[in-house]
């Protein structure tokens, strides 16, 4: 599978000369299978560029949303395939206890927050609610499970031909835990990430910042490195950067973390335009 990063930022887009290397767009990743299947992980502002990259004759796109916070859906109406008649767009994501996924998304995709209603888009839209059974899409087998983040939030493990990608962009496994990072059974996201070839994980805060943001649903760099170590992943991709962290800040944060934690896995911080390949 080919994994490409179109948006790496969390909370708010942060375009600036000081964020060009890591990127300023919010969360969006594409995963392409050898059979031509395309998965899109989250629909942050990065999805706009992805829409222009995909072939104009593509007939099906699968968008897997982790949750419906704005930084993960804001790019959706600007995704070009949604405006093409005949294209099948399958959107997967969490319902709430009282509203369907469709209804929850329409809160944003309707006036006054957005001028176009979701039902006025040209593509054929199909909504699928998670978590539930394992999803099979093309060559991909996908597990979706709830993880710790405010409001129902899903993490994904995507497997193909014996390799795996785990995507946990907004995740606070240390929240309230007295055993983190030492207890697999009681750690959010463990089952999804265990032994994964690639782990894409929230690294929103420094240690100091985390102390004043406990419960916001995000990880410090320390917690993310500890989670990667606990789960025994092969490649760890820090992701979902705070909009206040510029390129130099992120360089410094990851250099310090690598020196401190000497991880056994390879650390590859996400950058817009970065592509990684694994397995099928």
């Amino acid at each position: 599978m080919k994994v490409t990063f179109w948006g790496t930022r969390g909370s708010l887009a942060a375009p600036s000369p000081e964020t060009v290397r890591y990127g300023g767009n919010t969360s969006c990743i594409s995963v392409e299978g050898g059979d031509g299947t395309v998965l899109v992980l989250d629909a942050g502002t990065g999805i706009r560029s992805l829409g222009h990259y995909l072939p104009s004759n593509i007939n099906r796109v699968n968008i897997l949303l982790t949750h419906l916070h704005m930084d993960h859906i804001q790019g959706l109406p600007f995704f070009m395939p949604l405006r093409r008649a005949g294209v099948e767009i399958h959107i997967w994501g969490p319902a709430s206890t009282t509203l369907t996924l469709d209804s929850r998304l329409q809160k944003y995709l309707s006036p006054p927050l957005f001028p176009v209603n979701v039902r006025d888009l040209s593509a054929n839209l199909h909504f699928h609610e998670l978590p539930g059974h394992i999803i099979e899409i093309g060559d991909f087998s996908i597990q979706a499970q709830l993880i710790i983040h405010p409001n129902p939030t899903i993490g994904y493990r995507i497997e193909c031909a014996g390799t795996s990608l785990t995507y946990l962009p907004d995740h606070e496994p240390a929240l309230g835990s007295r055993s983190f990072p030492n207890d697999r059974e009681w750690t959010s996201g463990y089952r999804l990430a265990e032994g994964s070839d690639i782990l894409v994980h929230d690294t929103q805060y420094t240690d100091d910042e985390y102390q004043t943001r406990i419960g916001f649903g995000h990880s410090s760099v320390r917690h993310a490195f500890q989670f990667a170590s606990l789960t025994g992943v092969k490649r760890f991709v820090p992701f979902h950067y705070d909009p206040t962290h510029n390129d130099d800040d992120l360089d410094r944060m990851f250099k310090n973390a690598i020196e401190t934690f000497t991880p056994s896995c390879k650390v590859i911080p996400a950058q817009e335009g970065l592509s990684l390949e694994t397995g099928c």
């Binding site: 969490p94 319902a95 206890t97 609610e129 978590p131 539930g132 499970q145 709830l146 993880i147 710790i148 129902p152 929240l175 309230g176 835990s177 007295r178 697999r184 059974e185 009681w186 750690t187 959010s188 996201g189 463990y190 089952r191």
Partner: protein
């Protein structure tokens, strides 16, 4: 070991910060977590025992009614909550491992997660008196 469901993990985190005794069981009724205040009732420590099968924890503290009659496991609020998927409440006596008789009031709830997944149950204990 497999990871617990997220709602169960969050329930444990809450239990660890509350001062009232709390039990959490899985759908089979096995005790998968009890907090420090509950350790005083059971007379054992979670870190030492880990999880306990239903027939073990439900009889360990010898629940009895006000007349001293033993209460079978299926009549305990937590077992009722997970068996029938509705809340249950009861006042009864237990004989703790510390050899103390406690009159406790127990409220148990089934844990129903997102997408109506049945995840087990949780019980809150309140000590009314002891002898």
């Amino acid at each position: 070991m497999s990871q617990q469901e997220i709602e169960v993990i969050l329930s444990r985190h809450l239990a660890e910060y509350l001062a009232m005794p709390i039990f959490i069981v899985n759908p089979a009724g096995d005790l998968i977590f009890y907090n420090e205040p509950a350790e005083a009732i059971l007379g054992t420590r979670y870190n030492e025992t880990g999880s306990m099968p239903a027939n073990e924890w439900a009889t360990n503290f010898k629940p009895t009614d006000h007349d001293g009659n033993a209460i079978p496991p299926e009549k305990l609020p937590l077992i009722v909550a997970i068996k029938h998927h509705h809340p249950a409440h009861k006042i009864f006596w237990i004989h703790g491992m510390d050899d103390t008789m406690r009159e406790i009031e127990v409220t148990a709830l089934p844990l129903i997660g997102q997408a109506n997944r049945f995840l087990g149950g949780i019980a809150f204990f309140w000590e009314r008196s002891r002898k």
